[in-house]
């Protein structure tokens, strides 16, 4: 069974249907990239995958022992975080909350997991630094480490490279690929940056209310939709 299986889902946002009759699935180890124009329903779909906005039609099934609160989510950064006094360690550790339930304090195991993920992403030495003093790329690494703390199976990244410079963006993509290949964690990434993502993704979902295209990245490059979208971006 797939990790996530969306079966004919329709989702509304403020009374308007923004996603219609969408079906797709995510298997273990997949790297699915969700592309589409602004307002094509990408963010709403992300909310539904996280269980925060149930679809009004169809259903989202989680399989392979994936629990709803065990999706490692990397959200877009909020205004609140710009001046938030929190150390890197505090932020990363907060990813382990879902393993806590009603127990109030973190265990030694939680702390170890946080340290390991910081190690993996090369941010261990900034563990006592303040989150707000970091650069954009460093912040994303911290939030990625937090997301990794929350999951063993599926990462969900919402526009993770927005505002990063090209060099940092490339590094970040490599990190995600490493996580996908080495830790065998499936990745779902919402992105505008189609040209880069097509190199890494195994599957593409092109969203325009419903799926304009859904299939492997290779097939996308040869499809009419893919050619138009990729070519169009190239000419612009």
């Amino acid at each position: 069974m797939a990790l996530v299986k969306c079966d004919g889902i329709s989702i509304a946002y403020e009374g308007q249907t923004v996603v219609r009759d969408l079906s797709f699935q995510i298997e273990q180890g997949d790297y699915l990239c969700i592309v589409g124009e602004n307002g094509s329903g990408k963010s709403t779909l992300v909310k539904s995958l996280l269980g925060l906005k149930p679809p009004f039609k169809g259903q989202i099934l989680l399989g392979d022992g994936l629990k709803q609160d065990e999706i490692g989510y990397l959200p877009q950064q909020t205004v609140v975080q710009k001046d938030f006094p929190a150390s890197v360690y505090e932020v990363v550790l907060s990813g382990r909350l879902n393993s806590r339930g009603w127990r109030p304090f973190y265990s030694a195991e939680d702390k170890k997991a946080a340290r390991e993920n910081m190690e993996l992403l090369g941010i261990r030495e900034m563990e006592h630094q303040c989150f707000r003093d970091l650069s954009g790329g460093q912040k994303q690494r911290v939030l990625l480490a937090r997301a990794l703390c929350a999951t063993k199976k599926l990462l969900l990244l919402d526009e993770p490279v927005t505002g990063l410079d090209p060099l940092v963006t490339a590094e970040f993509y490599q990190l995600i690929e490493k996580v996908n290949k080495e830790a065998k964690i499936a990745v779902v990434m919402v992105s505008h940056d189609i040209e880069s993502t097509i190199q890494y993704a195994s599957h593409i979902l092109h969203l325009q209310e419903s799926a304009l295209f859904y299939g492997t990245a290779q097939a996308y490059q040869n499809s009419t939709v893919g050619k138009r979208f990729l070519g169009g971006e190239g000419n612009a």
Partner: protein, 276 residues
Amino acid sequence: MLDTFMEMMSYPFMVRAFLVGSLVALCSALLGVSLVLKRYSMIGDGLSHVGFGALAIAAALNMAPLVVAIPVVVVAAVLLLRISGSSKIKGDAAIALISTGALAIGIMVISMTTGMNTDVYNYMFGSILAMSGEDVQFSILLSVAVLILYLFFYNKIFAITFDETFARATGVRANLYNTLIAVLTAVTIVLGMRMMGALLISSLIIFPALTSMRVFKNFKGVILNSAIVSVVCLILGVTISYVYATPAGASVVVVNMAMLAIYSVIGVLKNRNNGK
């Protein structure tokens, strides 16, 4: 020095003022860190105006102030949170709506009944004499509730304050904790406002958090320091109020301002040293 202290403590009303004040200062500082970081700084101000309206009505009906004010302000707090959560009216506008509305109702009730008297003046600017034995009991209950919340749910409060969407995605019941924080804030404000004054009580929520954020760079440090700074400022302020016969609320705020200035300087010096 010691003589003054002994003299102050020989008055039961001063003992009550110190006790209730310190507990309210402690609670408002803890709750304040989360509120300030979530951009809800003005919620305290809004709720204190609602509290003013409720006290005016209680006085007009000859009812016990806390019995009327606590439920009304709690409802207003939950309402504010709900309205801010929906995108139809933005948070700051919602607070302005509710606070001016409640203030207007309070003034109408006062003008139709007692008129502007000393009681009303005290509601506005606070009085050190206002604390009763009932207030002492309430404030002990409140601070126990707030301390339990922060001790046992500290990690969840951090997660919700830092990133509510992520917290909800990982199974934290954000609405529950937000409501809990709003309700406790409401009770804190009602208890504190007769001493600090409706116009000044929100300072207890905002100042300690901002002061601590000048120097501390992690959440735990900010929380602990806010609690300490808030209680210290309150005790100093009330002492000044006693010695120089100044209004309690204003004295506490002035001490808080001085503390903010001191911490700002420390913060700048610390950053400069780190820069080198």
